[in-house]
Symmetry: C2
Subunit: 354 residues, 2 copies
């Protein structure tokens, strides 16, 4: 198989973790005889520094021409501390999602047995959990009109959904549920929001086409609670952009750490694969970041982007093996025992490749 | 002290738990020689059934005339399953919040030592947690304009904040932080939302007036994660209406159960006190609900509404005692042991009063 992969390292710990996601793809190419070629491009703060734009045209052009994109992380404290800045790193990520039509963000909550202890949640609550989130990614309050009054004292964002936006992601989520445990939980706030009532109505309609899947509707506040109270009860979770952002970060505690979760954004064409963690500037460049989410992003690219199941499985199994042998990065090591061999970013990356 | 208290039992388990909140107030009145008089009024589904309105004028009138309001719960599955219904129970709750100017919703996450085991989170993560949430309650996407296109295919809700709305609740939160551990975490999504950028800017300004309080700004996705990863790091959490709705429900797992949490809504005049749990129709009328959140709502009324600290403490201490003696309602009993004496709603209510 021949594939042209665009690597966008981004900001903060992005570059140091993406190195290992890319290396994993190269290694898989070697082992299975695929021809993966790589290009690089800038996005976020890294791009603003060089071009003044969070998403330079050149990056977008390269993205359109690639078969898949491996992304690192975005964001920088400078912008977080100064809300008045007009050009912001995150605009690059939002724009590329919109331009490439990446409307479905898949976030599997993959639980490595070895990491049951790394979570703040009790192992007996976690064991057996297997959730696949479908987060809508190109609509909602993320993309609705933003306003700021002239006196700067009033600000607004429009939370808006169109029926077709809900339909297309609902179909994807139901189809996935059919391949899994045939349960789908749609999360909204229909008791308060009109956009959620449209969401709920639409999902109710689509549900009729998938009678083999059991549908449940849950309010976001309740879902945020149930997710940690009893994560096993969820199979596929379908939700809007903002609610999905919140729920999937919360769910990272199920997997033991943010450093272990990858996501796939798909839609109209090229798929986009990234860790769910952020740019974590506080630990950037210190060899402390966990490269496993980037390697798992590579695995998602192989599986979802290219349909290479065996190749993806080899990466996941290798990570499982490394964890079983007691190797950990800082974020997933239990500080209170000597049971683990704690590695830096690069050592962990090398070990998995070996 | 003479006080006129309005009791609004509401829907679902509302009436059966509110009975005990009210009884607790009566008992405290007896013991301490306060003259508490009570009136009742309808709201929510219960009010729609009788008057066609979720908040009848008569209820609002009584509310304005009372010194404090004890509320139960709101909502009914009928409306949740049919998003097209125009008159909805929740409108009653939203309207009374707005009409009474209840802009600050205080949700203390009170951890009873005895309930450390009832949570899905590990006891060693929880121990020592003490968080006070300030949720803004009369702005945000809850109250912004709602639209539905004529073809019904597009729906929107306006997420909107005015600077004064952020300022007034920020002051309250900072003042509370000064009385506590002097740390305040403001939660927003300023990397994406304009309304959050206004929120962050405003909090940054107000922060300067409280130099003794340490301020942190956190994105909502990260906060949803940190809250269960390391709840002890939070002291006062200040956030918008929607984010607060989600975070406080999630935080109920810290307290072991939704059935243990109460909230106080305050602002321009009469305070409004309610459990954070919902109407839970599935267990309504079955004597399964936990009355402790309603009794704790009564305690908040005594403390925050009337400044009666000693009286409030007696209620909290009594609940602590009852838990120490091994009594539990279903939601906080560990099903796997015989260590607990599991009680129904009424038995638990009676026990606390005794
Ligand atoms: C960086 C930010 C804009 C982004 C989002 O909110 O979508 C991130 O949190 C994510 O989940 O991918
Ligand atoms: C019932 C609903 C409208 C309400 C809200 O979202 O505010 C409830 O969840 C709460 O938290 O008080």
């Amino acid at each position: 198989m021949k594939k042209n992969i665009l690597v966008i390292p981004g900001d903060g710990i992005g570059p140091e973790v993406t190195t290992w996601g890319k290396a994993a793809l190269e290694k898989i190419g070697e082992i299975f005889g695929h021809e993966f070629t790589f290009e690089e491009a800038l996005m976020g703060h890294a791009a603003i520094e060089v071009t003044g734009e969070p998403l330079p045209d050149e990056t977008l052009e390269k993205a359109r021409q690639s078969d898949a994109i491996l992304f690192g992380a975005i964001g920088h404290a400078k912008y977080d501390n100064d809300p008045s800045l007009k050009v912001r790193p995150e605009q690059g990520l939002l724009k590329i999602r919109k331009e490439l039509g990446l409307f479905a963000n898949l976030r599997p909550i993959l639980l490595f047995d070895e990491l049951l202890q790394a979570s703040s949640i009790k192992p007996e609550i976690l064991r057996g959990t297997d959730i696949l989130f479908f987060r809508e990614l190109t609509g909602d309050v993320y993309f609705g009109e933003k306003t700021r009054s002239e006196d700067r004292n009033t600000a607004s964002d429009l939370m808006i959904y169109h029926r077709y936006e809900v339909e297309r992601i609902a179909h994807k989520a139901y189809q996935a549920a059919q391949q899994r445990n045939k349960r789908l939980c749609s999360v909204d706030k229909a008791n308060v929001l009109e956009s959620s009532r449209l969401w709920r109505e639409t999902v109710q309609e689509i549900a009729k086409q998938y009678p083999d899947v059991e549908t449940e509707h849950m309010f976001i506040d309740n879902a945020a609670m149930q997710l940690i109270k009893n994560p096993k009860k969820f199979d596929v979770v379908l939700t809007a952009n903002l609610f999905g952002d919140i729920l999937t970060d919360e769910a990272s505690q199920i997997a033991g750490s943010m450093g272990m979760l990858a996501s796939a954004s798909v839609g109209e064409s090229t798929g986009f694969f990234e860790p769910i963690h952020g740019s974590a500037h506080d630990i950037a460049g210190k060899d402390l970041a966990n490269p496993l989410a980037s390697i798992l992003s590579a695995a998602l690219m192989l599986e979802i982007g290219f349909g290479l199941k065996e190749e993806a499985k080899l990466l996941v199994d290798t990570i499982d093996q490394v964890l079983k042998e007691g190797f950990r990065t800082h974020d997933i090591a239990d500080q209170n025992t000597n049971r683990f061999k704690v590695l830096g970013t690069a050592e962990m990356g090398k070990l998995v490749l070996k």
